[in-house]
Symmetry: C2
Subunit: 321 residues, 2 copies
């Protein structure tokens, strides 16, 4: 994979959660940057530690400083309220953003993407909405899917930093208004959730029917060897769905899936299997608390099938064949 | 891909539906056979035509003749009753099957696989149950997944004709009783049906939400570029779900999914999204008749979302963006 030439833009990255860390690591290593990457994070110590880890970065004291120092400001924040706070503080500080490109990879509501784009463009800047599909482990492997939308010339400015740098594929919506990407990302979430539900149900079925999850795992590996199936299947069979760092905490997933379901209802789309998955997320939260992992859906289906929530695999005590 | 050496076995193939035709074409071309392939089909004209098409084959007049002429008898029949008829007629004719290997790639009930294996082995033969995953178009591309089970030495006899000849992967259950493969194939059907339901719902959602199936198709292509997603998605967006040759006729799918659901109920597995998919299959049959294609699930979800069953794409009259 070759790295596309870039135009020597100075880059700042806003938000260093697991996704932001993985993306900046790849950007720093393979983005062919001509000046040090500027980092900003609400908790500054996280940015300091990550900067020390990567080497040759600058840590901004304030988000305004990050914006002032860069031509491209790329954000990947936890949720919409975090994105709102960041943009509000940029506008409140009256930074000159003429010619600056803002790229946002957070998962936010379509209307909000459009409103922010308008605000940025009216102030002389450019805006690309670019949600990404993939978990942090996928981001680390440069296997994300990026979904950019906005003016074509704006999308072209970020393009050199995408394929082969942070992602494996671009779903190119350039020319569409920014909210289109946000909406498509919600469709991606639909696919994620129903895939997870599928993997959960079939593994429970395999267990209950006597064929066992080990044999099932062979078939899964042959039919669906790639993420996201492979990631969910692994977490379920190894017990990581109740032990270890969550991919996404269930309370966040409940908020997002609630938003998606509201949208489905308001437009009249029948989405019964997504509703099933969301009901199982509620069970996960009831059973293991709001910080439990989203793949706990497997535990929920186990409980509904008369099995214990935990399969014992994380403790090495699984009886499954 | 290299073709494994075989042992010069004489091969007969029983059942020339779309799957059997695709598999024998690959076997004939790349199976490194040392003697002409023997073909048998209930409707002999089909075997004659296929033989003429392939060249250098023998067409057996009776199934007994096919069995007598071969060391390995590979069957791929439409359903369990067809398999029962074939084996009943073999046993009724009192053919000497000592040392002969029977490989069955039909989709049949686990108990029946085990019972047939017992009957064959008691008569001095060998039996491998080897259902396959994949549609005829996948079979044609040698991309099937084969799931063999039975005695390891029996599985080894068919192995040279699998990877790189008819399939891309083996889910190896050798050493397990033959019914295990049949059971795992039913789990595979679970994955097929819930994947189809997922692709149907998300496309309807994309349509209703205004993002459109064209944009959705870009995301689908990036996230799930391979079969089975790619096949179902294509049939739905092009209108092939109501025009053209069915992959599987809905009445057959209803029979099979009914069998799977009975099994889930009897073992206590909670499979709500599979139940949703089956309800949609019923709607397909009500709407378009028993010969409609299984991917008509898309039409069913459209109807439940207030859209016409047919999307108009096959007539080029789609209004979807």
């Amino acid at each position: 994979m070759t790295v596309a030439p870039n135009t020597g833009s100075r880059m700042a990255f806003i938000g260093l959660g697991e996704m932001g860390k993985a993306m900046t690591r790849n950007l720093h290593r393979d983005g062919n940057l001509t000046s040090p990457l500027t980092l900003w994070n609400r908790t500054k110590s996280t940015a300091d530690a990550h900067s020390a880890d990567l080497g040759d970065c600058k840590v901004a004291e304030t988000v305004q400083e990050a914006v002032e120092s860069a031509d491209i400001i790329w954000s990947c924040l936890q949720d919409q309220s975090a994105v709102e706070q960041v943009f509000d503080s940029i506008f409140a500080a009256d930074v000159n953003i003429t010619g600056k490109l803002f790229v946002d990879s957070s998962t936010i509501a379509p209307e909000w993407s459009n409103a922010t784009a308008k605000r940025v463009i009216e102030a002389g800047g450019e805006f690309v909405s670019m949600p990404v599909m993939g978990e942090p482990v996928v981001a680390a492997a440069k296997k994300l899917i990026c979904i950019p939308s906005g003016k074509p010339e704006s999308v072209d400015r970020i393009r050199p930093y995408l394929e082969g740098v942070v992602c494996r594929a671009i779903v190119d919506l350039s020319g569409e208004e920014p909210g289109t990407s946000s909406l498509l990302k919600l469709m991606g979430n639909f696919l994620i959730m129903t895939t997870m539900e599928t993997v959960a149900e079939v593994n429970v079925f395999a267990d209950k029917s006597g064929i066992g999850t080990k044999n099932m795992n062979k078939l899964m590996g042959a039919m669906f060897p790639n993420p996201p199936h492979a990631i969910y299947n692994h977490r379920m069979l190894t017990g990581e769905y109740y032990e270890g760092t969550p991919i996404v905490e269930v309370y966040k997933a409940l908020a997002l899936t609630g938003q998606v379901l509201d949208m489905a209802k308001s437009c009249g789309a029948s989405v019964p299997i997504y509703e099933v998955a969301r009901e199982h997320l509620k069970l996960v939260q009831e059973h293991e608390g709001s910080k439990a992992d989203i793949t706990g859906i497997y535990g929920a289906v186990r409980v509904k099938s008369g099995l214990p929530y935990r399969n014992g695999a994380a403790e090495g005590s699984s009886n499954e064949k």
